[in-house]
């Protein structure tokens, strides 16, 4: 079987073209060749239905989060504890990873190390092939999205079934995830009903003909559709929210129970885990399990928390593989300031409070990691070779809402500014850098500033308080905003006039 290309390169939100979709081929379009953020954002902003869906969803979850965070006695202390645990792990990462490997191996798991996506995919595909299966079930996992494991499996003739409800919606819709936690946040109920009716029958149990957009009916259709896949699957693939070094325990936190099914029913379990997921001790989990659900779904505790430590005879998967993945993380770790981004526990609180994300949605970020954390993480993980990655550090008004919401205190605005500096350094001389250097030259000397201000006051005398509606070259401003007319006298000139006889 060959990977399906029908969906590749589609514009975000574009549908069509799945009528002849062969079963077992559900690849989503990739993010390769994304335009820079402002251009991608423009297209997303025009999608009225998506704007409405996103506004409703982000505000609902934002309010829920605020409520459950406010009821914790000392949220700030908890944030500090979470950040400290992550920093400890990251500062001695090699030691904790070796400890994790040792404990996992002692408990009967097989540990694999993967430098990059290609290596990780090859390891997983080889294991799956050795089991001679045509399909695997999947727990929702960001890291397998990051490495495009589903696509690699499909290329190897294996269908990878997403079992998280929102991931299922994305997969059936031949769509891309647009949010870390709720990847189908850009879809509303009616759109989901249409996707289920159209697509479920292509790849398994069809949705009932009389399906409505009632959430309970939609969930029931998904449950029945997925049930046969759970019962049949012999191999499951997951990520992990946390990996405890001192016990060799992997942890998955979820809401629907699909994860529990995948993590317990199949004979073989393969978990792909980013190396930054390691926590030093079991105790560190206590802070994390308080921080994550409240920040993520706005719940005090999530419904399902599954922890497994290697293999237990007669209980759960009898073959447990753990693929520890770097894929750019050690590069991020090498950066003194940038490494704090590796604290991220993928809660998506920063997305939900972000005024930019709320309007553009996740697709414009060109990565499975959208929003503020994506704007810092993608250029760090992937480098700045592409248009989209170079533009991401600027995809923020630096309003700071993300830093306030982050449960592990990642100072995203500070990182964005830092990454902008790197982007400027890498791009060499540009018209912008010339303008900025000129501005710096003017602003570094009061006499030069006064001269430049004189030019402004001359313009002010010409316009005399009239509203300026258009200025050639300033379209980015004046297309939607009037420009204030400059004053005829600056403050500095006024002050000197008023205080002529003084010496300041």
């Amino acid at each position: 079987m060959s990977p399906d290309a029908a969906g590749h390169g589609q514009a975000p939100g574009a549908g069509a073209g799945h009528a002849a979709y062969p079963p077992l081929q559900v690849t989503s379009p990739t993010f390769v060749g994304m335009p820079k953020f402002p251009k991608a954002a423009r297209a997303e902003l025009a999608n009225a239905q998506q704007r409405r869906n996103l506004r409703h969803a982000t505000h609902t979850i934002r309010d829920k989060r605020a409520q459950v965070v406010a009821e914790v006695d000392d949220w700030e202390a908890l944030r500090v504890k979470g950040a400290d645990a992550k920093d400890e792990a990251l500062t001695h990462l090699a030691d904790y990873l070796e400890r994790l490997e040792e404990r996992l191996t002692a408990n009967g798991a097989v540990v694999h190390w993967a430098r990059d996506a290609a290596e990780a995919n090859r390891i997983v595909v080889d294991i799956v092939r050795s089991k001679e299966v045509q399909e695997v079930v999947k727990v929702k996992s960001m890291v397998t999205q990051e490495i495009e494991l589903n696509e690699a499996l499909e290329a190897a003739g294996v269908s990878a079934w997403e079992t998280d409800l929102a991931e299922l919606i994305v997969q059936l819709g031949h769509d891309r995830p647009s949010h870390i936690l709720v990847p189908a946040i850009h879809r509303n109920r009616k759109e989901i009903r249409d996707i289920f009716l159209r697509e479920m029958g292509q790849v398994g149990r069809p949705a009932p003909d009389d399906l409505t957009d009632d959430p309970a009916r939609l969930a029931e259709a998904a449950r029945l559709h997925l049930r046969e896949k759970f019962m049949r699957a012999r191999v499951a693939i997951s990520g992990a929210n946390f990996a405890v070094a001192d016990s060799g325990t992997l942890v998955v936190v979820e809401s629907e129970g699909n994860g529990r099914m995948c993590l317990t029913l199949p004979e073989t379990l393969i978990s792909v885990v980013g190396i930054e997921k390691v926590l030093p001790t079991w105790d560190d989990l206590s802070a994390m399990l308080q921080l994550l659900p409240r920040s993520s779904t706005g719940e005090r505790m999530n419904p399902y928390t599954t922890m497994w430590t290697g293999v237990h005879e007669g209980d759960g998967p009898q073959e447990v593989h753990v693929v520890l993945l770097d894929n750019g993380r050690s590069h991020v770790l090498a950066d003194r300031l940038g490494r704090q981004a590796l604290r991220c526990i993928r809660c998506s609180a920063c997305l939900n409070v972000c005024p930019v994300y709320e309007r553009t949605g996740g697709h414009a970020y060109g990565s499975v990691y959208p929003g503020p954390i994506g704007a810092v993480l993608n250029p760090q993980l992937r480098g700045t070779a592409s248009d989209i990655d170079r533009s991401l550090p600027y995809a923020s008004s630096l309003c700071g809402a993300c830093f306030d919401a982050c449960p592990v205190r990642i100072n995203i605005p500070e990182l964005l500014v830092e990454l902008r500096g790197k982007a400027v350094e890498e791009s060499g001389p540009t018209p912008e850098s010339a303008a900025m250097k000129a501005a710096a030259w003017v602003l570094s000397d009061p006499r030069r500033l006064a001269t430049a201000q004189k030019a402004a006051t001359i313009a002010g005398r010409l316009t005399r308080g009239r509203t300026i509606r258009s200025v050639p070259g300033l379209g980015a401003w004046t297309n939607a905003r009037d420009l204030p007319s400059p004053p005829t006298e600056t403050f500095r000139q006024w002050w000197v006039r008023e205080h002529r006889n003084e010496d300041s």
């Binding site: 809402a401 306030d404 939607a480 400059p486 006024w494 300041s504």
Partner: protein, 254 residues
């Protein structure tokens, strides 16, 4: 007469006007001077001052901002109190100057000394002068937009609202979604104009929904953006800096 005026005689204050106010919005630093003098302060405007460097820093040109930081500590180093009518420029000084100076220990030490003494206007009034009723009079319907850097960078909290509530004649109405960014974001407005405008149009709609005649904030940059949109819509809503409302009196109305 301000109830606090007699207690404040002689507090020496250096005004950091900010380059943007100095050039484009001189009414704001003038109002700041009037207000502070009315409250009994001795206001100085060191003429050697220029700019905090925020635009350069936030666009990725921190190296170009180093001379501006050096100038800033030279000009304002001798003052116990430096006051600026801008949350975002104060944020740049207090939260970013140390980062800009990180490769120069001597400069870093001077920044550590000077930066904490730089206060946004409402911080200075409430925390240093200890006043909330500044004797202002402004008989209009007003709504307040807390700018992001004043709110989340320097944490002015409800100080501006405390000051506004004490203004006589004011009809202060709450702005829905007040704490959400207006979409200005410095060069963000030019680099991501479509997103900036999408954010601004939501903010402008919320402002219009209040029925206010005047939108007030502590940063003229954000006001130029929101006001620019309100103006384009011919909405009839004025924008004013907090300093101008606080400086307004019955004898000298704004």
């Amino acid at each position: 007469m301000s109830p606090a005026a007699d207690r404040r005689d002689g507090v020496r204050v250096a005004l950091f006007a900010t380059c943007f106010n100095d050039t484009m919005w001189p009414g704001t630093p003038k109002a700041t001077v009037r207000l502070l003098e009315r409250l009994g302060c001795h206001v100085e405007f060191p003429l050697q001052q220029t700019c905090c460097g925020q635009m350069l820093t936030n666009t990725g040109y921190a190296a170009e901002a180093v001379p501006l930081v050096r100038r800033f500590v030279d000009v304002f180093g001798g003052y116990d109190h430096v006051v600026a009518p801008s949350g975002s420029c104060v944020g740049s000084v207090r939260e970013q100057h140390a980062m800009i100076a990180r490769d120069d220990d001597a400069l870093g030490r001077r920044v550590a000394e000077v930066a904490p003494r730089v206060l946004e206007l409402s911080e200075f009034l409430v925390d240093v002068l200890g006043v909330t009723d500044v004797g202002a009079y402004f008989p209009h319907r007003v709504t307040y937009h807390p700018t992001c850097h004043s709110l989340r960078m320097i944490r002015v909290g409800d100080r501006p609202l405390q000051l506004l509530r004490a203004v006589r004649g004011i009809d202060l109405v709450e702005l829905v979604g007040a704490e959400e960014c207006c979409g200005f974001g410095g060069t963000f407005a030019m680099k991501n104009p479509d997103v900036s405008i999408a954010m601004g149009s939501d903010k402008a709609r919320n402002v219009l929904d209040t029925g206010a005649e005047v939108l007030v904030a502590g940063d003229n940059s954000c006001l130029a953006h929101i006001g620019g949109m309100l103006g384009r819509q011919r909405s009839g809503v004025r924008t004013m800096h907090l300093a101008e409302i606080l400086a307004s009196t019955e004898e000298h109305p704004a």
